[in-house]
C-alpha cells in the first residue's frame, strides 16, 4: 500500500524510486498529503533534538553568496546571474524547479560537462562562467582548489572553489580551457599543483 510510505517519506527514509512514486501519488491523494503534513511536523521536530554545535562564521556568507548567484528574478538578471540560474537547474538540487516563465535565463548558454568528475561549467555569451564541482574532498591543510582560465598558452587565476558553486572571477574567452589545481592558500601565479579538472570550451 502506497499510503504506508508516508512516514518513510516524512523521514526521508525512502529510496529514490520510492520517493518519486510517493510524490506522484501525493498529487492525486489529498488524504496522504494531509497525513504527510502531520508526520512532517513530527519529523522536523527531531531536528531540534540534536546537539547545537556552532557553525563557522563564514557559512552565513556562503549561504547568501550561493543564493544570490541564483537570483530568481528577471529584473535582477545579469549575465553571470543567468549562468548561475541555469547552473542551478542543471546541478543536482533535489527540488521541484518551477519553470521561470520567461525562458529568459536559458538563452545563449553553453554547458560543458567535465568527464571523470562531477563537474559542469557554464559559460554565457560574455564569457561569464560558473563552475559546479561535486564531491571534491577537503584540500590538504594550507592548500585550496584554485581555478584557472587558460587561453593563448597562459593560465590566469580565476578564483577558488568554495562549496559546490563557484563563479569565476574572470571571463572565459572562446576556445579557452578552464582547469582546477591544488595550490597553496596564498595563490600561485600559474598552476603548480596537479590539474584535477580541465575542460576545453568552443
Amino acid at each position: 500500500m502506497i499510503h504506508e510510505q508516508a512516514a518513510g517519506f516524512a523521514l526521508d527514509a525512502l529510496d529514490h524510486d520510492e520517493a518519486a512514486e510517493f510524490e506522484r501519488h501525493l498529487e492525486i491523494c489529498p488524504s496522504c498529503e494531509d497525513e504527510l503534513a502531520v508526520l512532517r511536523v513530527a519529523a522536523a521536530a527531531l531536528a531540534f533534538a540534536v546537539d547545537l554545535p556552532v557553525p563557522g562564521q563564514e557559512l552565513r556568507a556562503r549561504v547568501i553568496d550561493a543564493a544570490t548567484l541564483v537570483i530568481p528574478l528577471r529584473r535582477r538578471l545579469q549575465p553571470l546571474v543567468a549562468v548561475a540560474a541555469v547552473l542551478a537547474a542543471c546541478a543536482a538540487i533535489a527540488i521541484a524547479v518551477r519553470p521561470w516563465g520567461d525562458g529568459g535565463p536559458l538563452g545563449g548558454m553553453r554547458r560543458y560537462t567535465i568527464e571523470g568528475a562531477r563537474a559542469t561549467l557554464l559559460v554565457d555569451r560574455a564569457g561569464g562562467a560558473v563552475l559546479s564541482v561535486r564531491r571534491l574532498p577537503p584540500p590538504p591543510t594550507g592548500r585550496g582548489y584554485e581555478v584557472w582560465v587558460i587561453s593563448g598558452g597562459s593560465a590566469t587565476p580565476a578564483g577558488w572553489l568554495r562549496g559546490s558553486l563557484t563563479a569565476l572571477t574572470r571571463p572565459v574567452p572562446p576556445g579557452a580551457s578552464v582547469a582546477v589545481s591544488i595550490e597553496p592558500r596564498g595563490g600561485s601565479r600559474r598552476p603548480t599543483g596537479p590539474i584535477l579538472l580541465r575542460t576545453e570550451t568552443t
Partner: protein, 207 residues
C-alpha cells in the same frame, strides 16, 4: 503602485523602526520576501534556523565540511523554491529543515558514510548563554524527552532513519525485521511523537 515587497518592508519600518530590521517579520513574510529575491530576508531565515540546520546536518553527515554543504544547498533550495512554499508546505521552519535534511541524507548516502548511533542525550556546552541559546536548549530538552517516552523499537527505527539516513529497506535488513514492521514502527512512532510534543506544549499543528 506598491508591491508586496514594499508592503512587507513598510511593515518592517513600522514595527522595527529601522529599515533593514527584519527581526519582527514572521517566517512566512520572510519567505515571501525571499521569493522576490530579497537576500537580507534569506539571511534572517538563516539566522533563525541556520544553527539548527547545521546541527542536524552535522549529526547526519558527521563531517563539518559536508554539513556546511548540506546547509548551503538546503538554503539554496529554499531560495529557489520559496515561491512554491505557501500553497503546499506547512510551517516555514518545517519546510526549511526538511530541505536541509534531504540534502544531508543525499550527501551521506552518496558518501556512504555510516551512520547513527542512538541519540546522545548528554547536553554539550556549546555557544553562549543567550536567549536564543536558552530557547534552543529548552526545545531540545522537550523533544529529547518525548523521544525517550517512545517505545524503544519505534524510537530506534525513527532515529536510524532520520539521523542515520538509512532507507526503510536498509533498516529492515539491519534490524532483521520485515519491511512492513519497520514502516509501521516509523508511522506509529511519528504519530505518537507528535502527541507527546503537543502534550509538552510544542506547536505541532500542521497547517
Amino acid at each position: 503602485m506598491p508591491n508586496v515587497t514594499d508592503f512587507l518592508r513598510g511593515e518592517t519600518r513600522t514595527q522595527g523602526g529601522r529599515r533593514n530590521d527584519l527581526g519582527h517579520l514572521s517566517d512566512e513574510a520572510l519567505l515571501a520576501l525571499v521569493s522576490r529575491g530579497d537576500d537580507a530576508a534569506l539571511g534572517e531565515l538563516y539566522d533563525r534556523y541556520g544553527r539548527i540546520a547545521y546541527g542536524l546536518a552535522l549529526r547526519i553527515v558527521r563531517d563539518r565540511a559536508l554539513a556546511e554543504d548540506a546547509v548551503q544547498e538546503g538554503f539554496l533550495a529554499v531560495w529557489r523554491s520559496a515561491g512554491t512554499f505557501l500553497a503546499e508546505h506547512g510551517k516555514p521552519s518545517t519546510w526549511i529543515l526538511t530541505l536541509v535534511h534531504r540534502r544531508a541524507v543525499d550527501l551521506v548516502r552518496r558518501e556512504e558514510r555510516r551512520r547513527a548511533d542512538p541519540i546522545d542525550d548528554r547536553a554539550q556546552p556549546t555557544g553562549e548563554a543567550t536567549d536564543e541559546e536558552a530557547w534552543l536548549r529548552a526545545q531540545r530538552q522537550v523533544v529529547q524527552e518525548a523521544l525517550r517516552k517512545l517505545p524503544p523499537d519505534q524510537r530506534e527505527a525513527i532515529e536510524l532513519a532520520y539521523y542515520g539516513g538509512f532507507t526503510q529497506s536498509e533498516l529492515a535488513e539491519r534490524l532483521g525485521q520485515p519491511l512492513g514492521t519497520i514502516k509501521s514502527r516509523m508511522f506509529t512512532g511519528l504519530k505518537r511523537l507528535r502527541e507527546l510534543l503537543a502534550e509538552a506544549g510544542l506547536d505541532v499543528d500542521a497547517p
